[in-house]
Symmetry: C2
DNA sequence: TGGATTTTTGACCGATGGTCATTTTATGAT
DNA sequence: ATCATAAAATGACCATCGGTCAAAAATCCA
């Protein structure tokens, strides 16, 4: 029987190697997409053999899903930080909106990867553990926003009818994802004269919040000041692109 | 020199064969996604050889893009039909919203294909002509909605500030695409207790229209009656799922 | 130190997108 | 009808890549 201490070290080394693989895989995904690189190249990059890669991941798709989950957890981290903002429920919701922009700015490759995951074959080839991990990461994001909306309804900041808290959450997530997807479209951007897609994301979030009747409405409050506070208290290093000159 | 009459017939035959290929490719895409079928299988299905397929399409990606464009043009057709609805500008916008649901119901495979197109490598491997054709089809959808919103602003149905007609168009397209993408997510649907995703799409569209201040607002008008008219006048065969019992 | 166990490796396999020399078919003049 | 020429269809073939596994290397422990 092996001593516990060495087996612990092994586990740590294994974990570190997995991180190394994920780092390089992410870089390749960002640089080349999914098809334009192969497992052999990744093996060379991390200085292990192809066979070793397959001890960590059951398929190329499984590996990509792991990359996506890691980034999605960073998104959830940002959301949870944002949710700690002290202010009205709508201000907290706004903080999450800003968090989604900070995230998009820090991880511009994420949405491409996430779109890739919508393609059918990924979920067939990925291992159950990774699928579950990804669902957990997604649920973290969802829950953070959902909790704020439940508070908003409880406090009377948002009217009850005719949508449930779940519907309201889904609406805000939908406008955020949709705006990012549309903002990625190069044609549409030049066609619609949209130079800063992240600004559009925020504007669209405002529209939905107003549509939900989430008080105080856009015209009832100085949200530029709120933005200043959010940025300085939670995302100080993101001021440059969140607060336009 | 070949007589003009035979060359015309050839062109017609060629076009017919391309349609045949596209039909089968679409079926395979719907049944198996992108990876789980190959060009040889498609060749057998259409009873031509693989080489002949490559006289029509420069790559598998090019072929899939052509499938997507054909469906996207059907979407534009529906939008243009909807835009002919006689009523207030918001009612016309609503008709387009319903059209997007009719489309999603008739072509449930489209969004999977469209998500696939977001993956980088497609655009590198597709031919310039197909890329342009796809952009044109997308622009048709965009323009139809845009024109209505321009009218709405001109007529005073929608306030001017702080969004341009382009922004408003983008917001509505974003909520529509985003809602469909989120609605596709099986986890989220069970998590949020959303049984009918198309209903959520419409509700979310309403939220954005209200957020834009598009008159008459949801609570100022009986839109259930409008829906009845839209369905009976424009989408009579879609009544079953557009108007819940 | 040496034998047992675990881990790593890369040659190898099957499948697939894409090519192109060869074969087949269509055409039109005689 | 026949034939020469041009056009089109074909499928054998190639290179590539995801994934496997027997052999080699490294590690461990008595």
């Amino acid at each position: 029987m092996a001593p516990a201490v060495t087996s612990l070290r092994k586990e740590r080394d294994l974990k570190a190697r997995e991180e190394l693989i994920l780092d390089h895989a992410r870089r390749l995904l960002a640089e080349k997409g999914f098809q334009a690189w192969n497992m052999e190249q990744l093996a060379v990059a991390v200085e292990y053999s192809k066979g070793t890669l397959y001890q960590h991941f059951s398929s190329k798709e499984d590996l990509v899903l792991a990359v996506a989950s890691r980034i999605l957890n960073l998104r959830a981290d940002l959301f949870e930080q944002a949710a700690s903002f002290k202010g009205s429920t709508r201000e907290q919701g706004r903080a999450i909106g800003l968090a989604s922009c900070v995230f998009a700015h820090r991880h511009p490759d994420f949405f491409h990867i996430e779109m890739m995951l919508k393609s059918a074959s990924f979920w067939e080839k990925a291992s159950p553990e990774r699928k579950e991990a990804h669902a957990r990461a997604g649920a973290r994001c969802w829950r953070t926003l959902y909790n704020i909306i439940v508070s908003a309804i409880a406090l009377g900041d948002m009217p009850r009818l005719p949508w449930s808290a779940e519907h309201a959450t889904m609406a805000l997530i939908s406008i955020t994802i949709g705006s990012h997807v549309v903002g990625m479209e190069h044609n549409l951007r030049v066609f619609a004269g949209i130079d800063n897609p992240l600004l559009s994301v925020r504007l669209n979030q405002d529209l939905v919040c107003d549509g939900l009747g989430w008080k105080p409405l856009l015209h009832e409050h100085n949200y530029a000041a709120t933005d200043q506070r959010i940025v300085s208290e939670i995302f100080p290093d993101a001021a440059a692109f969140l607060i336009p000159a």
